[in-house]
Amino acid sequence: MICVIVSVLRTPHSSVAVQMRGKRKSCRQSYSSCLGASSRLGLKPVLTGRRLNTSRRAPKSHSITEKVTPEQLALLLKTEWKLSYVTPLYQFRHTQLRSYCRQLSAFIAAEKQQGLAVEVEGMQSGYRVSFSAVQGMAEADDDAETVTIQIHSKSMLAKQDEPEKLVWSGWLSCINGNPDYLHSLPNDFTCLPLFGSSGQEVFTFLVQSWFQKTFDCCFGPLEINHTSLQWLAALWTNCHTESSIQHLKLIWTLPVEPQLQITYTVNPQDAWSLWSSVRKDPEEENEGEEESIDFEEVVRFIQGLKNHFYKHFRLDLSAGTLKQVSTALGSAKYSGRIKISNSRYMITTLTLLTEAALLKMPI
């Protein structure tokens, strides 16, 4: 809150009231109320609007490598990220990333002085924080640019040319965020609803609390639920012809004592054949329109896998919970951990996750 007051002091008097009003109002408008205002117990057609999209564009192999520099892409790829959702950031400016670096480093240093357990092995003289905006990641016009954050530790004993050690990294992103919702936000808010972190929990906590103090936002864990996992399984399999998925691995757990875990690994070619067999006839779709995937097809795909399984083991996987999906393109766990291994399909995955994060956001 402190920062809000500071900013209010800086702004001309006339705009104070407007700002505060706008802010309070935003608290009332959540993504769900925006999409299906009348849908908490809404009628059928509205009901689905509050949920994940039931149809999405087939992933194209995006030319993301042309738009984003490989160094920046490398920051996002091949690391397993723990996901959180973030409510819109108040007065976040992409132009002030440099000053945020200083502020966050100072914050971490101050917290460390207070005795908060930020102790990595060896002697640490301090931490260097770097913020950077990933140019070219945004898909839609309303998307705010993705921001990456890295924390390096500077060792006191280290030699001059020794590289600093990366102790924590994270990012905030918004890919294909719902335009209606984004438009409904007052100007002072930047919506970067998806937050990924990798590294010591302590740093995640510090970064989150700094964001909370500075931008008056809040964080919460983002699980990748059953529906999203099914979506990912189908979306990744759909890419097989362009980029081999190597395998499609699904992990279920069954509620028996002791817990039974089932790992179902499907040959990529066969997974693809099954996927094509459940796809709707492309001719039925409107010509000229982009290829789209319906959730119905996703459900049929997973159901097909389950049915084949049942025929052999007489065990219905629906009795259990889908916990994990992985292919060579990436892996996703129910606990909210995601790893994207191939930049070509990163956008599709992030679009889905952005949507999930917007849905999970409270208020």
Partner: protein, 338 residues
Amino acid sequence: MDDTTKRLLHRLIRRTSTEMLKTTLGKWGRLTMAQRQSLDFTQSKSALTEELLTLCEKNGWTVKNVAELEMIHVIDNPNQGMWHAYRLMDPEDDACSVELTQFKERFKTHLSEVVRHVSVKTKKHTDEAVWIRIAWGDTFSRPNHLKPTYVVYHLQTPYVFVTSLTSKQKPLLSQALILSTRYQGFKDANLSGRKLTAIRDLLMKQYPLVFPTNFSSPVAEKDQTMSNPCIIKEQDGLEAKRLQMARGAFGDGVLPQLESAVYKLETKFKDQTNRIMTEREEPFRCVVKFTSTNLLESFRQCAASGIVSPPITPLFSSIPLKGKNYFALKDKTLGSSP
């Protein structure tokens, strides 16, 4: 004292709990009474290691001595590492008369015939099992004591349990075993697990078995009287049937702790709702792995609670029945059967 001895001892101490180490050292018997009493087991692991290394130097222990210590430790803690079961095939007439000393002698000679540098140590355990520790070397290098293979052979049975065996060493071991046990073949039993006792019990059927019967056991009928007369189960019969079926397949006693089972399926896709795939000629290739801290117990629970629909598939009941946990399935028309 060479470097290998030190490393071997160091590694062993690191892996063992202090309490365990005390008893193991006692069994080993290479420390004098005074030395044993002077050892302070309450101090830190690193200090204890230092002390033992000094003793090692002083007493002039060789690699073989320390290897023996390791072997005692492994015999006492068999449930570590991945054990694979093998089965000896086609016994010769005199196979059942092979006794311990004869086997030990033969095994050593046969193995050193095929591998130039090899260090073999055997020990007979209380339960009729012969434990063999093999440190492999080759024509040019001395036996590597840091990567030993352990073999457990139960005399007069066709079962052999092996841990950390590379594919290169397998034929060598196989030949030595065949010749010294008077069998003619050596085959993978498709059973593996981290708990040696569990896979041994499963293979040798040393756990409470149930003989399939068609009569309901008296246990199935007593439940109803326990509960409140106001609460009645409509489908009581079904539940009893499920319980009986679960017991029939997996028994009702304590089950060997098997951790996993793998099925490699190359069968035709089966799903009536999907015509395209069901009519496809090629098999649908997938691998299904079941894991649990006690797999058979989990399966029994699944069957009892109805998650697995009756009748229980032979794929599950084969695990205790055939003593296997790896299955490769192909459709009969395509070639071999499961």
